[in-house]
Symmetry: D3
Subunit: 332 residues, 6 copies
């Protein structure tokens, strides 16, 4: 069930992104005629949500020989403990050694993103969470960010690439630019409604110019039943969105008869701030998370040889021999 | 002086890694016949070392029209303040709007890496610093990591791609695997010495099996003058490398006449731990940094329209009009 | 130079607000025929700005005999140290004993208010400070609050009584009610301008309905040169006023040509928050302080007999005899 | 059941203690011919014990018209939550607008005092608590302090005025002065016993000159059965009263046969220190509280218009319309 | 059941180690002809394990008269509360007064050692604990240290004297010196095995020269079944012993077939660090504690006269009369 | 200049207080015929005041051979750094090995006491400090405690043995017992004055029964010029002695003409509390320190072999070879 959409770049395959000493090691071992079957184990430094194994399996299926190998792993999205073995590859060293850097990098980065997403999803206690942080990472991993966040529990992400990797539809409404260029939020939403197909939900960003509840009411009065929701993204220079603000906007919308208009909150959210909204019972319909997921660092993976041609070995500081973990399933 | 080596991927150019609402905004504006010249300003949330502008300029040179535009920016590697405008693009919205996500993503990620590298370099007070963290990031940004770390002040990095982007030679010695597969550190270094060209420095990793100073002496006795140095990377399960350990290994090497053998320290280093070594006057010749640089999150960039067809505008919470910054230079 | 405006109430003179045991003590001593000349010393628990002596002198001039007495005191508004003697009354016990409660109460409360005001004034570093907290204290001390705040350095207060005691003009602009009842801030200011004499400054409260800078511009466009300033009192449910908000409003007013319109900030201010505005160089013209001054508790005063008919005495825990303090001046 | 004893001063009725902008607002609205029925809601910033409504009702009965109004409120002494509506006045703005400052001031100050008293009463776990802090507040609110403390749960207070407002008898024993002027605590108590009527309890302050237990025994030996109790008020320069001291004095009194002599403790007490006595099971018969209640600041009340002529309205940051609170009862 | 082994030194008996004012007091009282029977009570400042009473009883049996006395005490090793009376001596002052210093000193020091030992024993949750800290105290109390630690729950101590006082066998293995002087740990253990009687357990200190697990395996391979265990005492300059290190050494011993070799851990242990090993389920067979027990200060004892010739008395700050404690038993 | 008064006990000489493995090591080495000259170095864990070397030299002069040895050391009372070598013994292992435990124990305990004393002396800024804590340590080290405290800077100690070791006169006044047994402090001092020789200073403990200043005045009135001073040792149940109490007692003594009476303070003092008295300029003439010095734990000493028959060696974690320290002087 490997997803074909994970493109394996040439630079990875030829080892340009590997630690250079791995290249040298392959040369030395070939010259020495040494090529045992090794058992490599990968385990994360911190607990979290395991992610990246789909892409890693795509890579391994390209580089490992067809027989004489074993790959054991947890599944994409499984919870994982600190130090738990999440992936074990048994293969001739010459076929896997060069990819140690790439495999641990993919797992570290994806597991980091997915774990941060899960923290937000847990804090939201059932309210849907969107991943919006593509603007905080290099475009070459923007798709990976969206994919991993969805593995972690987000309902969607903001990029086409991330959504396609995860097999769903991307999510978005309108940028501040649209209001600024068309002269107002009402004008922006009228234009959006005129030119966008029906399946694009009409969601207005209501903090561009005026007070949030004023602008929410103005847009509601114009789009009426067609308005799906509003997004409140108040900048921190204006105090950010607060539970009380959401309650007030909800009350003013309801008083004017716009009970169907949903409220999405974004802007500097993290698990602690989400919890404040949940604890205050603020009527939020969707949370949008940007930097928290994108800026959570990778969860580094240890990589260690635990067996050489069937003999238990280990460098100092590790326990020799295969590490028992009944949760692993054989995947190759 | 744009570096041709930054490959601009197709997915970026067609907007698959952009926030999807930017795609929609372009459609709406085209249908409405609206396409003003806008001034977009990019500024980081935190202070640091500005990085990524070389790659961004490569992108802009591909997508902006040849005339009627202005691009002002700080230089690669400049220090930058929180909130300071680091890049200003004046161009028709239709040519730049779709790339807002990518530009801020490149700057956020590269500035994050470069700033973390600089913290280490500053802490090291003149001792050279290597960037080793490729194993902690997705291979698609492993080169970017190495490049940014070098912009931040590292003397080299561990990947071929990162080093090539920065125009230098990659750096590496040997992995634990080599000792494990060849049966010992001495054997590993003998093989390395036999098969590697002269320009690869002989640096032995001495914590694989035995006590660090024992192993350092054993390797020294075999390679003698050819040994350039040793690397101590003691795992935290054995207490990690400490200033006292380094002093003791230095003393034992000197007592045995190996004053020419250099000591490189790595393993869980960060600015605080580097400072401990420096304050203790531990005789370290090189620091190798892995996770600290790789796991430091991006430094998010704000992107805001401050002018539309020459008129000062701004969304609520920003000050309308071009933001004055005499440090910016015109680059396009 | 005792100010005639401090009304001495009958309940104070007859001792209804005194600790009841003082009443009993007077009876006992009279029956015993004991009435020595005592030296009573008053000293505050904490450092601060001494206030209330004007009212106390008014009281003493009503109740002390014309001769055979001595009153030494610091002046209204003097800085005072913790434990420093601020007032010494030498008089027959029968004429002063009953008023120990009232004198220490006046000094404690007024010194508490004046000291809190001074903290704000010091934090404001030259920007004028108004005392607005009458709504937080019982109306019977609202005038005392305003008076004490002015002694502490405020330029004015919000009540007629407080201002009259201090010999200045009260200060105020408009309540939220006016906007709510007349349907908008612009309407409110037009009405105020129509019906108020010229000497009442036109200052608009701009956070009643809409975004502060929108409303500030709307009012400015109508009153133009006649508008003296605006007051920003954003409720904490909207994040409160921030230095960045003030800078943005100032920039938008200036861009529209309203450089003469001043900005007053109020709402939950205290010395720490004032310092944030000052450190950020936010262009504030006046600070308005409510609860901080009003809610700072009194600074309790110790009252002790240190001499009886010229003999040094003291209760346990105090040092017998007159306490030397060269800063005291004889006032009666 | 409004208590006739709350004197409404002329300065309050004519608005001299009101914020001056309320005076101006009345003038403007009269000139504009605007006088709607408004619903004003009062709610405290912090949780506590609601107090002051008796005095407020006395004021409203003087200034509101006889018909066409509604007043809803909690009862004197009710517990109240932060932000809960405690008082709602529906009346023509012209009859109530001027008194917004006074009403919120009375409620803020009285609720502050009563809440602090309740904290002490709760900490005392059944041991009676007296309010002694008149010497820390201006004499114009000394009665209000005593009244509010009794509403909060104190069994009595030290001033005649406070006790009369609450309909009880004031409480007091003897000041240090009496011992100092009569030459000793024994002499002071003999004189008090000779000249005071039987209903004044004989309670000796035993820390004026000598060790507390020595002095307690000396007074007990003289007054014997007539001695009701002793008060220990050790100054902090002598370590203050401690649970161990109380236990020791109790033991020495009991050993000498004075089991009937009660012990009252005072001097710098607050809920934390009371809890120490209670937790240590120190045999205290009464706690006397001075500065803690008097120096606790007011609990500020928000005042907001939520309805104008039956229409839900509210300033930004508040929710329009009457706030539901089933705990309110109609009082006018 | 007083243990004859506690030697009472002459300097103690003649009062050379007593506070000199006790000598003077005896002289004064003799000259005045005053020698009442007093009740002296001893109580510790902190809770802990009571120790020293055996030695104190030996002293009292030397100095008290044979009749007319009473001694009540807790038993050696009883838990004790802060302030609880642990010893009461009723005797003529002339026979006991001089020994107040010595009795409280013995109890304070022994109770301090025993209590610290008990903290370690409790933390170890059933794993045996040895007391090794003789090198941290003056040799004149080294035996007392070992004895008290065993009373506190340790299974043995490192000195002959301490073990003899407690009636058990001392415990020890080998010092680093032996390896250094014989040229290696293997040589040291071979020599030890050759020259020591069978009842001395063969326990090797394995951190003198090489990596702990290397050295453990080397010694195991030579002594095989005769090896009882290894001791790991890694210096803090090498990170100290950690739970992970113990697990790894255990695993490597087991892999090589040395399951019978026990592991003893020592070096900077305290209750917190022991708890870390226990919580991590590290396979430790014995904990050795040095400085923690030896460096824990004495638990000071208060000594107070509570009765003189049957009359309850006490200095200020104490409660007169015998203090009730049903846990005391009469021992003389 | 070794002081003959340090008695070397038999149990020490025969090794009963040594770690038992040292006994075994001597046996093994003798049987193996191994007895090299070793260089043993002793260094403390923490900085402080070096103490115990006099006693150690007495021991070494008993056990080392007359020639072929070298002993280098700091002097008694020298300041010492953490980790600094304070003593180096070069001798045949057979003559010194058994005494490693005793030497480090003497140095650890004495250095601990002396360092704590010095902290108090430093805090006292010139006011003399007495060491009174014999009651907190085992009588077998009470003399060592006093001696070490005097080396640390105390002017005297309370035991005859401690004072004799240091070559000075012990110091003491009177215990609470004397007042309790003679019925009062005045009676106690009259008896002391009657029976003690002139050279014993008359210093009264004034907190036994009554208020300190009362009792101080009472004693002063009786002994007048003969009274040297008073000691205030107020128990913590009465708040302990405070700077304000000392000032008050001084003032009351001076007012009554007793300017010659000195004030000594004791009871729970430590460097922090001493500093409070000094900072408050309380008129203290002497500080008496009990538990702080006695209860400060030993300062553990590392002992390591750094040379064997002239060859640099060291266990892992130490640097081989003699450690250079120019501050050491040759003493044997």
């Amino acid at each position: 069930m490997v997803n074909a959409d994970f493109e394996i770049r040439r630079s990875l395959l030829v080892g340009e992104t590997a630690d250079v000493y791995l290249q040298r090691t392959l040369t030395i071992l070939r010259n020495e005629g040494v090529n045992p079957v090794v058992a490599l184990e990968f385990s994360p430094r911190r607990a979290g949500i395991f992610c990246g194994i789909t892409e890693v399996r795509g890579l391994l299926s390209r580089v490992l020989p067809e027989s004489g190998i074993e790959v054991w792993a947890l599944s994409e999205g499984d919870p994982i403990e600190a130090g738990e073995v999440a992936l074990r590859v048994k293969a001739p060293y010459s076929s896997v050694g060069l990819y140690e850097t790439a495999i641990s990098g993919i797992l570290a980065q994806c597991t980091g993103f997915a774990s941060a997403a899960r923290e937000c999803v847990d804090a939201a206690s059932g309210t849907p969470v969107l991943a919006l942080g593509a603007r905080h990472v290099h475009p070459d991993v923007a798709g990976i960010l969206g994919y991993s966040a969805i593995i972690g529990g987000c309902v969607s992400c903001s990029t086409i690439q991330g959504a396609r990797l995860a097999g769903i539809t991307p999510s978005g409404n309108m940028p501040h630019s649209l209001s600024l260029l068309l002269g107002g939020t009402v004008q922006a939403m009228e234009a959006l409604d005129k030119h966008m197909p029906q399946e694009v939900p009409r969601v207005a960003l209501v903090d561009t110019f005026r007070d949030e509840s004023e602008e929410a009411l103005a847009v509601s009065r114009v789009l009426r039943e067609k308005l799906r929701g509003i997004r409140i993204n108040t900048p921190s220079t204006r105090g950010g969105a607060t539970p009380d603000l959401i309650k007030e906007v909800r009350a003013r919308l309801d008083l004017s008869g716009f009970r169907h208009v949903e409220i999405m909150v974004s802007g500097g959210l993290n698990p602690e701030r989400i919890t404040e909204f949940v604890d205050a019972e603020a009527p939020v319909n969707t949370f949008g998370i940007g930097a928290y997921i994108a800026a959570t660092g990778p969860n580094p993976f240890h990589v260690d040889i635990h067996e050489v041609d069937g003999r238990p070995v280990a460098r100092k500081g590790r326990i020799p021999g295969i590490t028992n973990n009944p949760r692993l399933g054989r995947v190759m």
